[in-house]
Subunit: 519 residues, 2 copies
Amino acid sequence: MTQDTLTGADALVGTLADCGVTACFANPGTSEMHLVAALDKEPRIRSVLCLFEGIATGAADGFGRVSETPAMTLLHLGAGYLNGGANIHNAKRAFTPMINVIGDHATYHVRYDAPLTSNILGLAAPNSVWIKSVDDVKRAGTLAAESVHASMTGTTGPVSLILPADSAWNPGGVHAPVMDVPKASPASEASIASAAQAIKSAKKPMIIINGDALSEAGLSEASRLQAAGVRVMTDTFVWKQARGAGRFAPDRMQYFAEGAMADLEDTDLMVICGTQMPVAFFAYPDKPSVLVPEGCEMVTLGGPELDVTKSISMLADELGASEKADVQPRTAPDKPTGALTPVTVGASVSRHMPAGSLVSDDGVTASLPIFMSTVTAEPHDWMMLTGGAIGQGMPLAVGAAVAKPEAKTICLSGDGAGMYTMQALWTMAREQLNVVTIVFVNHSYRILNIELKRTGAGDPGPTAQNMLNIGTPEIDWASLAKAQGVNAENASTAEEFDEALERALSGEGPTLIAAHMAG
Amino acid sequence: MTQDTLTGADALVGTLADCGVTACFANPGTSEMHLVAALDKEPRIRSVLCLFEGIATGAADGFGRVSETPAMTLLHLGAGYLNGGANIHNAKRAFTPMINVIGDHATYHVRYDAPLTSNILGLAAPNSVWIKSVDDVKRAGTLAAESVHASMTGTTGPVSLILPADSAWNPGGVHAPVMDVPKASPASEASIASAAQAIKSAKKPMIIINGDALSEAGLSEASRLQAAGVRVMTDTFVWKQARGAGRFAPDRMQYFAEGAMADLEDTDLMVICGTQMPVAFFAYPDKPSVLVPEGCEMVTLGGPELDVTKSISMLADELGASEKADVQPRTAPDKPTGALTPVTVGASVSRHMPAGSLVSDDGVTASLPIFMSTVTAEPHDWMMLTGGAIGQGMPLAVGAAVAKPEAKTICLSGDGAGMYTMQALWTMAREQLNVVTIVFVNHSYRILNIELKRTGAGDPGPTAQNMLNIGTPEIDWASLAKAQGVNAENASTAEEFDEALERALSGEGPTLIAAHMAG
């Protein structure tokens, strides 16, 4: 096919493939039919159908976090963007590069205000680090290349590439050259020297890190700071962290402000590297918003745009930190017994999760004990809900498993969170993805029972209690999974769960375990 | 409780109740806890929990269409708004009044850019007819009253009322007085006279109507025009239309441009009343965007802000139209036999649907034959997907059934459309709503198989075909429903379906029929 017979859709898809895009998570509609046709001709991109746009965008986030290259999505006009929007919000908070390709009406058709017409630029701009519309077919390739560059440069994140239908179907599309993505820079030598000086003067210094420093190599550098007396912490919610045996385990900022402030007591210096000042997830009456002790000095080396590992390494050099803190050993717990709780689930995950696994954590109140139990599990990567919009777990697991099909992906989901986007199970079955989904069935928005008290909203009466209870009727998770082609089991004791998890992880393809939690 | 102990949340909820709001469809989070507490104390509002925001907003649309008063929703910050956004888009296209109450971070907390922080005003503005944030607790009641007024005045539709957490929990809330909603006005006498003049001069005049003229009374007035030789048509997709025995049945604008243009051949005058100029749903290469024959004169009496029934009545008077066109008789088809098709489903619905039923139509390619078959069914109201964002059917049915619990609500849903928002089934079970959901199981995005050809995107190869096929794996709809507490049956022949529907409509509470379509 010669260049001048390419449509705009062909040029856009082909250029994205040239730029290294290898996966497309799609929920197309009429205005995306030429994009579907272009994907049909592009063997370098694996097209994965999702039954709801929130699955597609969550999957692109998971793919991007694991592969560290952007996936594309196909979304249907403004309404499709809205359906995918919450997981784009989450991806933006994880700084995940992703290319959201949004079909729009033909440019000449917009003025007639047909039913699906919407202000796509207005809707998509707040959660896009870059947004442009291909209003001229000749620009389809150029803007595709630019979109990839934008998603991977500086503060990385989701971009929106809008393709009007006439720009999709008209001939005249041209492949554009790939744009080089500049390497991130570390903090300046002057700011490193100044941070080192502050550390030397502090009694109880700490550094809070995120970004590329949560890789095995980055954590290894960070452990030099820990060995030199600088407490290393991560944000409460991280995009991806290398964990388990052989890795240095930093502390984690606590979720609730009162716990965080107690934990940080007497800290007199906080160095920020690859993230921002720690703040409370929500405000509460008479509780602090900023999680920095009074009188604590703050030194900022830079945000997510930084080469964080290199910055940490330079800081360790400046401090003359030649030792490293200990890495975690591998210690497998005994088979848990009795009531099924987050702690026993954590023991089972730690026992059975194979090396190289990926964890997609949307487990809300159940997650922390499992996170703690797995610090000495086999080496694995743990991905969290960075943006707070629940319903990310299963979609993220889809994308993670597409990015690394040979690994086991373990999805931890609350039952409330899982009901947002459980259509992801169908895509797991269709693509036979190696995902084990664990749903914590406690029949409630348990976090809200805690928050209702913390916000001082008073003792819940029957209406309020009813609004936090999702157990009437009970949701049969095993049936929901089987109805979408995913094997499933119920587990109600620690032993049952342990055995179910062992079976699930020794098989191929997707499984769901409905974990009926005690209490 | 005296006024000065009211919180902002109390004042907001209480004022909405004063203004006649009687239902709240909610998916709350931490920032909405004081709103939940306020609803706990407000017996005039029925709180209905939904497991996904798209259910809540679709339900508010259904409630608003049936009761013709706004329901409120509770949405959790920008991410919650995004999840509910597609059905708000649909509601805006139906001009349905609804009050979307969006919790936000405390005003002083926004600056810290916590994970759930987002540009709510930016995200919500495009699909809101009014949007304000309660940045001062004393204004909570006033803005609540204003929001109801705005949603019901002029071009009615969804409004966004943002409540920051500190405005929710601070004392100082004050109930505000209810604001009178002005009655809509008809078209001016001069424009009526001029339209009548144009009609008298035309050979083949028609009028296209929507809005309140689709009520039984409005259609009765419109039938005077039909009897006077003016063809009466509705938009392709209408918010709610009175249909069946005893009602005048206008023609309907066809979906595909080529069909519509053939149908309108020789039409030399088009009067627009309560809607806008008819346009194609999508643009296609070399097909028209505007569904108006060449040389056809256009006369616009006004858009959705109009008192359409009164305008039609005045026009009929001006034309001296004293007769009315015939209304539909009741004719019940025989029990259908053989293969299960949209035509046989239509016969069964026409046979068994009781008088006063509500239909929520998100049936995509299956809908038209059922719509046609039910023109002589018992009197009922039919509600359509006005905004084109599939996934509206089941949520809309939830709201319709809450608004009119004594009626049977029949939900028609494609299997592709149904998978967007099938969490609505759980709310149907929880509230024991009288909804019979019919899912047309054809294992494909069938409309897209048609559209792929119409857009000229070429013959689908394996990847493209795969992107339109949702039958691998097959989705077990009956199990999906039962897993959420809804009775369900499978039907694979016309006879099986007819009997299943008869059973479903003779019982109480929700049922789902998985209609396995032939061919």
